[in-house]
Symmetry: C2
């Protein structure tokens, strides 16, 4: 049996592409704490309507979030709560990584100070 059409890996890649943008990550980090209207997102992000709506469109298309018309406004939410977990794990990875570079930086500074004397 051979793989067909858009492979599972392509599907996965599409999902990660949805996260691969600074604004979209910020949006998801906010939505991970609960649903928000577009206005609320705009305010929280300090970005203009068009930009926010555009990035929400990407997240919607990639099925990462859901949109719900509520009267005059639209309320967005993360489709799967596991996305929150994913961001948590990612955060831990970033911590390790940044801790590593800081340590290296400090070490580098120490080295050059030592070499100079």
């Amino acid at each position: 049996m051979t793989a067909s059409g858009p492979s599972l890996q392509e599907f996965k890649a599409e999902f990660f592409k949805a996260l691969a943008h600074p604004v979209r990550i910020r949006i998801l980090e906010i939505l991970a704490r609960g649903p928000r209207s577009v206005q609320e997102l705009q305010a929280a992000l300090g970005l203009d309507q068009s930009t926010v709506s555009q990035q929400l469109a990407v997240l919607r298309l990639k099925q990462v979030v859901t949109a719900n018309k509520e009267g005059t406004s639209v309320r967005y939410a993360v489709r799967d709560p596991l996305v929150g977990d994913l961001l948590d794990v990612a955060r831990r990875i970033f911590n390790n990584q940044l801790a590593g570079t800081q340590t290296m930086l400090r070490q580098l500074q120490r080295e050059s100070r030592a070499a100079r004397r």
Copy 2:
């Protein structure tokens, strides 16, 4: 205090960009099970040397994997074991999502069958 230079969100986005490619995901799924030489990866992936090396380069640049010269060959490994956890969470999300679409598909079929009679 204002944010400086490449923001944390940009850094995060760069990380997810590293995962946002079918071949790179496949590589990471293999490396999550343990270190591998480039040859082993090539064989497992069925891709040519140049392609594999290219994608390994982006994983290296984005600090997702480490490379270690071992005699004549180079052994790659995931830098942080949490990457494995990340892929696991992602897998669970994909499961839910695909299960969802299958369910919807089945439901759609049931609906049209019902409507026809």
